[in-house]
């Protein structure tokens, strides 16, 4: 059976499982599934942007904006759970569009640095406006609006499944080829009539929206928010580690990566948590090992394993061998 069809079946089973678990009443498992879903959503969002050659170091900016928009809508305007998620989504899309317009020509390392500056800028603004955002002391969500943990888990699972579907649709649309061309060489893409700005706007709006949705749903689960947490660089790095671990530029990559990263994170924390500093040390070592020995992630590993056992599935994937920018 071909690798991709196998993964597609696995994907459907996984989607079904993720949607079912919140109903099973196992709080521990449901919590881990929730965190995996939010990680998968932001990993998919980062992976989509990377697919168009835009490496972002500012995904915690989108996450934080989504979280703050949802929290402030709920607290100040009394907006309920689902509509506040929608506001978070829209705020992320607007920030994505804004970022695309502002960083019109930037590429590669310079685009990455601009996004890092954006995220850190948002953190400073959140700290310095205490009456709006609660400042550094943080902001608690009104508990009266709280919809119940199980409902939050279900919405998160649906969000993850939708994000996977969106990324699958994008890869099937004509956008996919424009993004691959832009990733390979933006000038060349321009010459063949792809207007990069239009595609950058769409991909950043979509990617921003997804990342902000993840932030918004997370703040509802946690109930507390402060600037250093909302715009924490750890979120940006987890958003990158998952696609790299799973297999960058592929559909299954971010999802496989989110599962692997969560398994690794929880594993090291639960077994080695008692000795201070060890859990994050193991995480760092695994990250280094993975970048060195699994450059194309688990998907690449699977592909090589399948290619060696069966006749080559199709020609060597030019898009996987990314030319030096």
């Amino acid at each position: 059976m071909r690798l991709d069809s196998l993964l597609r079946y696995a994907g459907f089973i996984l989607a079904f499982a993720v949607l079912a678990i919140p109903f099973l009443g196992l709080p521990g498992l449901a919590d881990i599934v929730f965190r995996t879903c939010t990680l998968a959503i932001i990993a998919i969002s980062w992976n989509m942007m990377a697919g168009a050659g835009l490496i972002s170091l500012g995904h915690s900016g989108f996450w934080g904006i989504g979280a703050y928009t949802a929290a402030l809508c709920a607290n100040h305007l009394g907006i309920a759970f689902l509509p506040s998620l929608f506001c978070g989504l829209i705020s992320g899309a607007l920030i994505g569009v804004g970022l695309a317009l502002v960083t019109g020509r930037l590429r590669g390392i310079y685009f990455a640095i601009a996004t890092l500056a954006m995220s850190e800028g948002f953190r400073i603004i959140a700290i310095m406006l205490p009456d709006l955002t609660g400042g550094a002391q943080g902001e608690y969500l009104k508990s009266t609006l709280f919809p119940g943990t199980q409902f939050v888990y279900i919405v998160a699972s649906c969000g993850a499944v939708c994000a996977a579907a969106v990324s699958w649709l994008v890869s099937r649309s004509r956008y996919h080829y424009a993004f691959r061309a832009m990733r390979a060489n933006e000038q060349a893409a321009q010459m063949v009539g792809i207007n990069p700005m239009r595609y950058r706007l769409t991909i950043m709006a979509l990617s921003g929206a997804l990342a902000s949705f993840a932030g918004a749903i997370n703040v509802w689960n946690g109930g507390y928010l402060d600037p250093n947490v909302a715009f924490n660089l750890h979120t940006t790095l987890m958003a990158q580690i998952a696609p790299i671990l799973g297999g960058i530029y592929t559909i299954a990559g971010p999802i496989l990566g989110a599962l692997a990263a969560m398994g690794l994170g929880e594993g090291t924390r639960l077994w080695l948590g008692q000795i201070e500093g060890v859990s994050l040390l193991i995480f760092g070592v695994t990250l280094v090992a993975c970048v060195l020995y699994l450059p194309k992630g688990i998907y690449g590993g699977l592909e090589r394993y399948y290619a060696s056992r069966m006749r080559p599935v199709y020609g060597n994937r030019a898009d996987l061998k990314d030319p030096k920018p």
């Binding site: 990377a50 490496i55 170091l57 502002v102 960083t103 019109g104 020509r105 930037l106 590669g108 390392i109 310079y110 990455a112 640095i113 601009a114 890092l116 500056a117 954006m118 850190e120 800028g121 400073i124 603004i125 700290i127 310095m128 660089l233 790095l237 990158q240 580690i241 790299i244 960058i248 000795i275 201070e276 500093g277 060890v278 994050l280 040390l281 995480f283 760092g284 070592v285 990250l287 280094v288 970048v291 060195l292 450059p295 990314d322 030096k324 920018p325």
Partner: protein, 290 residues
């Protein structure tokens, strides 16, 4: 009350400190185009090196600096050849993640070995200041500035005069042409990475008596170094120093003259980055210049 004089003194001293933070980073970034996310951790290692020598044997940080520089050079060379060399051809994101992973590992080895407590070295000069009427100049920061000037001068001289320095500048500008000259580009990458690490630990030694030493002090300094290199332009040491002083003056101006400005000052650095990146995508002074 005229704050201007003290403002100028503080800005210049802070500019020297920021130059130190960015000098090592700008060399390795200018030559290899890799953002070394672990550079902050090398500064932290230098600071802990100075701290332990000071605490156990009472060695003054400045006297311990040469030995720590040699150690930093060797560690940098080792880290490059064993890890970073293998991702030179990989896409940017793999390089970013690899160096961040290395940073994470060094950080938490420090936590395990030396605990998360705040440390600092307190040699004589770190707690005294030269007072000229209203204005006072802390010796600690003055020495920091002097070391920064010395390191910048040494580096520029090395780049201009020596064979290796010329080769590094050639690789920074055109790798293929440099290969045609008979320059082994990977060896030059390793050399510039090792020198960058040596400068990093030297910065750590100086910083150990100016700001607080903790395992997590590295990352904020790296973010500052990135901002400085962007403002000052890529790979040119003089441009980097200019970027450092621009940032220092802006931040100190905010802290002195804007109410609650010190809170906003860090945001200023990021606004500067966005503005400059949009006007001149390769930084203020443009391409590589010695």
């Amino acid at each position: 009350m005229n704050l201007l004089l003290q403002f100028l003194v503080d800005s210049i001293l802070l500019g020297g400190l920021y130059t130190l933070m960015a000098i090592g980073f700008s060399l390795s970034f200018g030559v290899t185009r890799i953002i070394n996310f672990a550079h902050g951790e090398f500064i932290m290692l230098g600071a802990y090196g100075a701290f332990w020598l000071f605490k156990i044997w009472g060695v003054d940080p400045l006297i311990a600096m040469p030995a720590i520089i040699v150690l930093g050079f060797a560690t940098g060379w080792l880290v490059f050849n064993s890890l970073i060399k293998r991702v030179l051809a990989a896409p940017n994101i793999n390089q970013i993640l690899l160096t961040f992973g290395i940073g994470l590992v060094i950080q938490h080895i420090a936590v395990i070995l030396w605990s998360g407590n705040s440390r600092s070295t307190t040699p004589e000069y770190a707690l005294q200041a030269l007072t000229l009427g209203e204005v006072f100049i802390p010796y600690g920061r003055l020495i920091g500035c002097a070391v920064a000037v010395a390191l910048v001068a040494l580096l520029i001289a090395w780049l201009k005069i020596t064979e290796g320095g010329r080769a590094v500048r050639a690789v920074a500008q055109d790798e293929d042409a440099a290969t045609l000259m008979g320059i082994n580009v990977k060896a030059i990458y390793a050399l510039s990475f090792a020198i960058s690490s040596a400068l990093g630990v030297a910065t750590g030694v100086v910083v150990s008596f100016i700001i607080t030493v903790t395992p997590f002090m590295g990352f904020p300094m790296l973010v500052k170094a990135v901002a400085i290199v962007i403002v000052g332009g890529l790979g040119s040491i003089f441009g980097m120093a200019l970027g450092a002083f621009i940032l220092a003056f802006t931040e100190t101006a905010f802290a002195y003259y804007v109410p609650e400005g010190s809170g906003w000052s860090e945001g200023v650095a990021f606004v500067l980055i966005m503005v400059i990146l949009i006007i001149r995508p390769h930084g203020l002074r443009g391409q590589a210049e010695a």
